[in-house]
């Protein structure tokens, strides 16, 4: 959570001169959704991530941390292992297929994510472990807080507003909402479909996932 806040701070600093979009995400039952990736797509910006910030997908207490990691296309992600046990992280997602044997007290391995899309992470040793890396092709993205709110700084202009979360159904994920930013604006995204069941509801072990949805 500390790292996550750090990223937000960094983003807000780097594009300070431009406007900002305050987004409020509610589902069709007016409930807030935390950790959802909200991003603005624009034709004016395409290409690889050019920064050198390494995103981190850690293993803490036999869980992926964070649960959902949003990165820009081309960005590298480091996979450290904060646990004292071995993890075997893999992905069969078309966006990025990989397999990492993560031993304790070893140097973290990292890799670059060249394709846009969702990467579902699992651990071959621990079935309950589930994490997502969502790769966006835009620098303007953020993740909702516990109230479902998020502020994206972006220069004034026209954008396409999109959201992603494992619980958000495909129709809402595919939906492209055109927005024009001019100064600070506030937008509420209201999801048309009911959220997919939370981890508790599809049979996960509650205590392992209580902190995120």
């Amino acid at each position: 959570m500390k790292n996550f806040l750090a990223v937000l701070t960094f983003l807000s600093v780097s594009v300070a001169q431009a406007g900002a979009l305050k987004v409020k995400l509610v589902d069709n039952q007016a409930l807030h959704l935390t950790n959802a990736v909200v991003y603005l797509e624009t034709d004016e910006y395409k290409g690889q991530y050019e920064g050198d910030t390494m995103a981190i997908m850690d293993q803490i207490n036999r869980q992926f941390s964070p649960y959902i990691l949003a990165i820009q296309k081309g960005q590298k992600v480091s996979f450290p292992n904060s646990d004292s046990i071995k993890h075997h992280v893999y992905s069969f997602s078309p966006t990025k297929k990989f397999e990492l044997q993560l031993f304790k007290n070893r140097r973290a391995q990292s890799m670059q994510f060249e394709k846009q899309g969702a990467v579902e992470l699992g651990c071959n040793i621990h079935d309950w472990m589930l994490g997502y890396i969502f790769v966006v092709d835009t620098p303007y993205f953020a993740q909702t807080d516990k109230d479902g709110g998020v502020t994206i700084d972006a220069p004034d202009g026209d954008y396409t507003l999109r959201v992603w979360h494992p619980r958000i159904q495909e129709q809402d994920i595919e939906k492209k909402r055109p927005v024009s930013i001019s100064g600070t604006q506030e937008v509420t995204i209201k999801l048309s479909e009911t959220l997919a069941p939370g981890k508790d509801e599809f049979g996960g072990e509650a205590d392992e996932f209580s902190e995120y949805d």
Binding site: F92, G122, W128, A196
Partner: protein, 780 residues
Amino acid sequence: MINSQLFSTLRARILLSYLFFLSLLVFVTFYVVQSTTYEHSTGQLLAHAKASANVVKDKIVSRSNALQESLNTVSKDFSFKQLIAGSVDDKISLKVALQNYQRRNDADIAWVLSDKQEVLASTATTESNTLKIDAQKFTHRDIQLLFIDDQFYLIKAAPIKYVESSRNINGWLVMGIDTRRLITPELVELTDMDVTLLRFNVPHQIIGTTHSTKLIEQLTLLPVKQEVGLHQLNKPLHQYLYFTDLFAQWNGTPIHILLTTHEEKAYVSYNSLLFQLILILAIAGIMASTAAMFLSNGVLSPIVKLVAVANQIRKGKYVSNFPTSSTLEVASLSSAISAMQDGIKSREVEIQDLAYNDSLTKLPNRNRFYKTLKEKLSDSPAPLAVMMLDLDRFKDINDTVGHEIGDILLQDIANRLKESATPSVFIAHIGGDEFGVIVDNIKDQTPETIANEFSSLFDTPFHIAQLTLDVDVSIGVATYPKDADSAYGLMQCADIALYSCKGLHYPIALYNPELNKHSVQRLNLMSELRGAVALGQLSLYYQPKLSIEENRISTVECLIRWIHPIHGFIPPDEFIPLAEQTGAIREVTHWVLKEAFRQQKTWKEQGHSIGIAVNISAIDLVDMTLPTYVEKLMQEYKSSSKCLTLEVTESAVMSEPESALKALNTLQSMGITLSIDDFGTGYSSMAQLKKMPVSELKIDKAFVLDLANNEDDQVMVRTLIALAQNLGLNTVAEGVEDSQSLSLLTDMGCTKAQGFYLSRPLPAKDFTDWLKQYEEKESA
């Protein structure tokens, strides 16, 4: 007939009713037990079948679950996921891996489907690859089937998630087991029944079975509508029972479990129970029958003994031991029979008394006399005498002084006989005025002495009601063993002797065989005489009567002769009295008359004019048909009454003088000559003689036979002839045997002579010859 007798015995009836009720009990028990046991057995079978069906289902579900678990595990396998994820590039590796997993799970078919349910890999045939499988459906716990390549499969599926905790399903692992393999011999062992999975259709589809082919055919023909429960197969396999239960659904049609068993196996406990029941009932039947036998014997053996006792009583043997019985009815029957025997005894004494004693004189009667005599004869062979005593003229006494006095007289006689009796004498009242006496052991006495002793008992007159009755007695005596050796024979001999002494007017007569012979012949002749007339055994002999004055044969006496085929010649004085007794004399006389007339006519035709003389008896005189008959004969033979002489004995006229005179008068008026036969031997009174319309006296041959030598006879004959002449009667002398007698008679003035000097009686032909010779001699 035998049957009805057999079943009418008490024993049979008791046994039969026992058996009847026992059989009833047996059948009711058998029926009740059989039906309840059958129901129970059926219930047990049904319960067993239900349980078995559940076992089978459970087994299959277990198998299905095991497959499911296994699929779940395989679907989590990382390397398998890797193969699936890499199947776009390497389908072969995935298929081989799939085959491997299929083998591990002992499945028969397997697929890997994509998240879009497209077939990524399959071990099935190509055809089934095009199959659209809704994999989600096969993840449920219930039994799901698929019909592929003409075969049913139990199908299970597990979702494949690349990341286990993910919401997304990335593919499906699907496997199936051939249903035929689900129905294993192990199920038969577990359920003790044959198991079949069957889809009801036309015809039914056998999905799997443990049966042999023979039954499978039959199973495919079962009725379409099947309720869950117990049923029976149709013939010829009707001995099989089956139970159906719903197993699963396929394509909206139900799949059934069918459990089959053989009837014998199903009802084995029921059958053994029935056998035991039958055995128990059979034993009970034998025991009950034995009990019935004992019971009936308890009642019956005294009854059988009573029957024997009753038979003894019937034979006249008295029984002192009556069977006892604990059965009240039988005991009272026994005492009733005992009382009956006592009653019979006392009545028998009375009857015996009546039967063997004379009620008037209190003496033993004829039956007792006979019986006693018989006993004495069988007891000892000592000589004894049997005497028959008969009172003379008892009828006259009765008629004169009355029956009352007569009875008292009989009682007095009985008392006098009893008083005189010694222990060796047995006296009986034979009947009427006849008494019988048996004298034992007569060795030292002659029968005459004994008879005289009894005769002397009657010397003293009897005094009854101021009357003095002088009674004479005739006694016939027979002795044993001289005269006869049987009781009946002795009595008969004594009777014969008695009759002989009656006839001879002797007080005592001893039996001699001559009397018997006579008597026996007499009895026979009585019956044969009538037949003799018809059979022509009778004939006439002719004896000439010489008319002394004319010196010619004027008349012939017709004498009847009976030549018996066995006895030969029977003298007329033997059978004529018989004929008189039986009444046959009338026929005999009629025959004689007719024959005589016929013969007279013959002679007349030959030129001999001869009168005929025929003897008639007293009976003929009483019978008033005689004159009419004679009249008729005279007309028939054109004879004259002057040519007929009827000879009548003195006694004949004397017995019934009035009617005899009447008849004689009639005959005389007809012009018939009447002659008194045997004159001089009877008791003819002169007064009677004077009245009689006779014209001839025949002097008995007793006076004539020795006439030539006996002067007394000469006096008698001369007197008789003189008497006759004085009465105006002719005389005929019988028994003329020599010429001296004839010349004497001629001198005496006798009218006719008859006798051997002239001729003995001759048959008709001989007589005719004799007559010719005589006439020739006389004329010469």
